[in-house]
């Protein structure tokens, strides 16, 4: 083998080796690489019970309730399959509204309510003019969260 071919082989092996090592590492860390878990995963019990975590979903229509004269509020997040009650006290991002994707940080209390200490709005990848958005009556946002679930029953907690 010529020296140039040897160097080509060495460079190729380095790239392939690093790619495989990184791929395996990321595969092993898959769960902790997730920025948030879905509502269905919470319903299935697939969340860290001993520490705070993030849950992502859409704010369910008609569930936002604010307490008069305070920042206390409750709403439900949904992934169109399971719902989860959330309570929160604090400032909300501008994009927060019903039907909007949100990511809440906090933990589940003994009543099964997600007590959030931070709410972030998740924007989707669609950009359009206001008049266009108005004419799109059935504009659904579920691509935002990569929701892959059909309208099946939500799995119950102890499964």
């Amino acid at each position: 083998m010529k020296p140039r071919q040897q160097r080509m082989l060495a460079v190729g092996l380095v790239i392939v080796g690093v790619a495989i090592a990184t791929g395996l590492t990321l595969q092993a860390m898959k769960d902790s690489m997730m920025f948030f878990v879905s509502v269905t995963e919470v319903a299935e019990g697939k969340y860290p019970a001993d520490r705070n975590f993030r849950v992502g979903g859409l704010v369910k229509d008609g569930t936002v309730q604010r307490e008069e004269g305070s920042l206390e509020m409750t709403f439900e997040v949904t992934d169109l399959r399971c719902d989860l009650g959330v309570s929160y006290s604090g400032v909300l991002p501008d994009l927060f509204r019903e039907g909007q994707g949100v990511v809440a940080h906090g933990s589940i209390d003994e009543n099964g309510i997600f007590v959030a200490d931070e709410i972030l709005a998740k924007h989707d990848e669609n950009y359009m003019a206001p008049e266009v958005a108005d004419s799109l009556a059935d504009h659904v946002q579920d691509q935002t969260l990569g929701l892959q679930y059909g309208p099946e029953e939500c799995p119950t907690g102890d499964s």
């Binding site: 669609n126 266009v132 969260l145």
Partner: protein, 248 residues
């Protein structure tokens, strides 16, 4: 064709040809960026949810794209330099790093400024897209620091090339991070099934900005490679003659 490429790899030829090529990148770049800035700020309608805040996309997306593009240019040039021992190729890699670092910083800064009003946070540790982009900034800085720490140019070329190649694994991670993992960052708007999810009046200025930034990157890269070549060849006859003749 091969003769042209071989000539281009010779530093004096490259130095001369690059000078002629720069305006061909720079003039269209400025025209496109000028159009994109005006159309993006004044002609494009505001977004139905984000209002006028979405307009930061006209700097953010081209910067983020070029931060990855510059890294690929750097890594591929470094790889070619390692395998074929072409000095000019190493010079291209060395010249690309600071430009790429600037675009990475710009992408992070504009994203952060947008994130505060939209997401409700300047920065989220643990978000795969944000974190992998920050790692790329550190890779650029590490690459430049490594080069700066080694006085011998040939050794610096080799050592930094290995770092550039190893770090290249981060580029696909940045690109696919929003698809592989759940992330606060939204998915791709331009390259997706069913075409760009964007109003055409918003889209054309963005495409102009992306192309304009790319050409600007080309112009800046050529300029920096010329300087890099001059420095590397400072002890050669042709540079001495060039200096004595007053740069003509």
């Amino acid at each position: 064709m091969w003769k042209f490429i071989h000539q281009l790899a010779s530093p004096p030829h490259f130095y001369r040809i690059a000078a002629k090529m720069i305006p061909w990148f720079m003039v269209p770049a400025l025209l496109l960026i000028g159009y994109g800035t005006y159309a993006g700020l004044f002609l494009a309608p505001m977004d139905y949810q984000q209002g006028d805040a979405f307009r930061i996309i006209y700097v953010h997306v081209p910067s983020a794209y070029l931060s990855m593009m510059a890294y690929m240019v750097m890594a591929i040039s470094a790889g070619i330099g390692l395998i074929w021992r072409i000095k000019l190729s190493h010079a291209v890699a060395a010249a690309a790093a600071p430009i790429g670092a600037c675009f990475t910083f710009l992408a992070l800064a504009t994203g952060s400024i947008w994130g505060k009003p939209m997401w409700g946070t300047w920065w989220e540790w643990g978000d795969p897209r944000l974190t992998s982009e920050l790692i790329m900034l550190f890779l650029y800085i590490g690459y430049m620091a490594l080069r700066g720490a080694i006085d011998d140019t040939v050794k610096a070329d080799k050592a930094s090339a290995v770092l550039a190649l190893v770090g290249a694994v981060n580029v696909p991670i940045i690109h696919f991070s929003v698809e592989w993992w759940s992330s606060l960052h939204q998915g791709p708007t331009l390259i997706k099934e069913g075409g760009p999810a964007m109003d055409p009046a918003m889209l054309y200025p963005l495409l102009a900005m992306i192309l304009g930034f790319t050409l600007l990157f080309g112009a800046m890269l050529l300029r920096r490679v010329r300087t890099e070549v001059l420095f590397r060849e400072r002890r050669t006859k042709w540079v001495n003659e060039l200096v004595l003749s007053g740069g003509k």
